[in-house]
C-alpha cells in the first residue's frame, strides 16, 4: 500500500464531519477511526524508518508554492504516540457525540502539527487543537472548568496573535511560508528581524507548550477539566507544540536561540517542580509537574545542535511523560488507588516519571545527563538532578497518600495500558537508534 501521511489528518476530519449523521454509534465509530489512525501511524513510521524522511505534496504543487507534509522519524513517532494514547484515553469517555467529534478534531489537529512542513499550516492546526481543547476543558459543566477554559482561551488567543505576527514578519522578509525553504534562506534575513520573529513565534507556541511565563492557564485548566481531558491535554496539544518548538529551533538554528531555549527550559523546570512541591491539590500538583517536565523536554531539545544524545533524550522524556502523566491524570478523579490495576499504573507511572531504570523516564534523564556531561555544562546537570530529587519527594508523598485510599478510579484499566506502553518503550532501547536519525532538515 502506498502510504499517504495526509490520510492521518484527512480521515479524522472526514469522520468528524460524518459524526452528526450517525449519532447512535458515535463511540464505536470514533474509536475505530482512532484505531485506524494508530495503525496508519505505525505503517508511516515503518516507512520513514526504512526509507528516510518522507515528503508529501498536497494539491500537486511542489513546495513552497503548495503545502507539503514533511515526516521524519521523530514526527512519525510522535504521531504514533499521540494517536495510540488518544485511542486508549477515548475508552474512558462517557459523553455525547459532540464530545467524540471535538476529541477527534483535537487529535487530528495535534497530528497535523507534527506532520506539516508549512508554518501557516501549522498555525491552522494549532488553532484546531486549541479550539477543540477550549471546548473540551469546558465540557465539565461547573464553575471551575469554565474559569479554566476562559483563562486558557485568553492566553491561547493572545498566543495565536503573537504567532501570526511572527509568521507575518518572516513572510515579509522571505516571501515564503515553507519551513524548509525558510530554514534554507534564513541567513539572508536581518539578525534583528530573525530575533523578533523567533521571539514572537516562541511566545505564541510557548502558551500551548506550557513554557514558564505563559503557563498561567495550566493549573486551572487541568484542575477544572474532566480527568480524561487533563490526560488528553498532557499527551496531545502540549507534546505537539513542544515538537513545533523543536522545529522552530532547527529553522533558526542560531547558537543564541538554542541558548535562550536552554535558559527558558531551566526556568520552566525549576518553577514547575517547585510549584508542584508546594501543592496540596493532586491535579494541580500533577499540572505543575507537567510544566516541569515540559521544561526538561525543552532543555533536551535546546542541546540539539551540540550532542546527538539530545533528541533521544527528548523523545524518551516525551514518551514517559505522555504515558505516565496521562495515566496519573486518568486516575486523579478519585483519591486513592483501590484496585490492582490502578495500584500498578500509579506506581509504575510515578517510577517512570522520577526516572527509575529501566523505564522510559530513566532513559530520558540518562541520555540527557550524558549529553550534558559531554558538553561539560555541570550547572545544568546539577539543576536536572536537583529537580529529580524534588520530584521524587513530592511523588513519594503522592504515592503515600493514594496507596492508602480505598476507592479507585473507573479509568484504572486504560491508565494501566498507557503506563505499560512506557514500560515497553523503556525496555526496548533499540528505540534509541530509531529516534536517533531524526530531523534531518
Amino acid at each position: 500500500m502506498v502510504m499517504h501521511p495526509v490520510l492521518m489528518i484527512a480521515i479524522p476530519l472526514l469522520s468528524a464531519f460524518i459524526m452528526p449523521l450517525i449519532k447512535k454509534a458515535h463511540r464505536y465509530f470514533a474509536f475505530s477511526i482512532l484505531l485506524l489512525n494508530t495503525a496508519l501511524s505505525i505503517l508511516l513510521f515503518a516507512k520513514v524508518y526504512n526509507e528516510g524522511a518522507l515528503y508529501e505534496t498536497i494539491a500537486g504543487f511542489s513546495p513552497p508554492v503548495g503545502i507539503y507534509l514533511a515526516v521524519d522519524n521523530l514526527s512519525a513517532l510522535l504521531a504514533f504516540l499521540i494517536n495510540i494514547f488518544a485511542t486508549i484515553n477515548f475508552l474512558t469517555s462517557r459523553q455525547d457525540f459532540r464530545f467524540s467529534m471535538l476529541y477527534l478534531l483535537g487529535v487530528a489537529g495535534a497530528t497535523g502539527i507534527v506532520l506539516t512542513g508549512d508554518i501557516f499550516n501549522m498555525f491552522v492546526f494549532f488553532e484546531i487543537t486549541a479550539v477543540a481543547s477550549y471546548a473540551l476543558v469546558a465540557s465539565k459543566k461547573d464553575r471551575k472548568a469554565t474559569e479554566g477554559a476562559i483563562k486558557y482561551m485568553i492566553l491561547g488567543s493572545v498566543g495565536s496573535v503573537f504567532m501570526l505576527v511572527g509568521i507575518a514578519i518572516i513572510y515579509s522578509q522571505l516571501k515564503s511560508l515553507n519551513l524548509y525553504d525558510i530554514a534554507a534562506r534564513i541567513s539572508s534575513m536581518d539578525t534583528k528581524m530573525m530575533w523578533l520573529s523567533f521571539s514572537f513565534l516562541l511566545t505564541g507556541i510557548g502558551v500551548e507548550a506550557e513554557l514558564f511565563p505563559l503557563n498561567g492557564w495550566v493549573p486551572d485548566a487541568y484542575e477544572g477539566a474532566e480527568s480524561n481531558i487533563s490526560s488528553f491535554l498532557s499527551f496531545g496539544p502540549s507534546k505537539a507544540s513542544i515538537y513545533a518548538i523543536a522545529r522552530l529551533l532547527i529553522i533558526f538554528s542560531m547558537s543564541r536561540t538554542y541558548e535562550l531555549a536552554l535558559y527558558l527550559g531551566i526556568v520552566t523546570l525549576l518553577v514547575g517542580e517547585l510549584a508542584a512541591f508546594t501543592q496540596k491539590n493532586t491535579k494541580r500538583m500533577l499540572a505543575y509537574s507537567s510544566i516541569g517536565q515540559m521544561g526538561l523536554i525543552l532543555i533536551a531539545f535546546s542541546l540539539m545542535d551540540k550532542t546527538s544524545y539530545a533528541i533521544p533524550a527528548a523523545f524518551f522524556i516525551i514518551v514517559s511523560h505522555a504515558s505516565a502523566k496521562s495515566a496519573l491524570f486518568l486516575l486523579s478523579d478519585k483519591d486513592g488507588f483501590g484496585d490492582m490495576s490502578s495500584k500498578y499504573a500509579g506506581l509504575a507511572g510515578v517510577l517512570s516519571l522520577i526516572g527509575m531504570p529501566p523505564l522510559a523516564g530513566f532513559w530520558g534523564k540518562w541520555y540527557l545527563l550524558m549529553g550534558v556531561a559531554d558538553e561539560k555544562i555541570w550547572a545544568v546537570a546539577a539543576i536536572i538532578i536537583f529537580s529529580a530529587v524534588i520530584e521524587a519527594i513530592y511523588f513519594a508523598r503522592y504515592l503515600y497518600k493514594n496507596m492508602e485510599g480505598k476507592e479507585s478510579s473507573r479509568n484504572s484499566i486504560p491508565a494501566a495500558v498507557m503506563v505499560s506502553i512506557s514500560i515497553v518503550m523503556g525496555i526496548l532501547p533499540i528505540l534509541y537508534n530509531m529516534a536517533g536519525g531524526v530531523l534531518n532538515a
Binding site: 501557516f120 491552522v124 488553532e127 479550539v131 477550549y134 471546548a135 469546558a138 459543566k141 461547573d142 464553575r143 469554565t146 474559569e147 477554559a149 476562559i150 483563562k151 482561551m153 485568553i154 488567543s157 493572545v158 495565536s160 496573535v161 501570526l164 505576527v165 509568521i167 507575518a168 513572510y171 515579509s172 516571501k175 511560508l177 498561567g216 492557564w217 486551572d220
Partner: protein
C-alpha cells in the same frame, strides 16, 4: 515604508495587549483580543500591498497586482478569529450564569 498603516497595526496590537492585561471584565478582554486580531490582519494585508497595485484578478491587460498570498492568509485568520470569538461568547454566557458577573474572580488572576 507606509507609516500610517504600520503605526495603526502597532497601535491596535498594543492597545489590545493593554486591554488583556488591564481590564477585569471578561467581555472587554475578548474585545481587546479581537482588536489584536484585527491588527494582525491589517499587518498581513499591508505586507502584501504594493503601491498602485490592484486586486490580483487577471483581466487581460497587465497591471501591477498586489501579493495575493497574504490576502488568502487573512481570510483564514479572520475565520479563525471568528470561531474563537463565538466559542468565547458561549463560555462567557456560561460564566455569567454560574457567577452572575462577567468580572474576574480574585483567585482567577495570574
Amino acid at each position: 515604508m507606509m507609516w500610517p498603516e504600520y503605526v495603526t497595526v502597532a497601535a491596535l496590537i498594543s492597545i489590545g495587549l493593554y486591554g488583556v492585561m488591564a481590564k477585569k471584565n471578561l467581555m472587554k478582554i475578548f474585545i481587546a483580543i479581537s482588536l489584536m486580531e484585527t491588527g494582525v490582519n491589517l499587518l498581513l494585508i499591508t505586507i502584501g500591498y504594493i503601491p498602485e497595485g490592484t486586486a490580483p484578478i487577471e483581466n487581460g491587460n497587465f497591471v501591477k497586482y498586489v501579493d495575493p498570498l497574504p490576502q488568502a492568509l487573512v481570510l483564514t485568520a479572520i475565520v479563525i478569529g471568528l470561531s474563537v470569538t463565538a466559542l468565547a461568547l458561549t463560555l462567557l454566557i456560561r460564566y455569567h450564569s454560574k457567577t452572575g458577573t462577567l468580572e474576574y474572580r480574585r483567585g482567577m488572576k495570574w
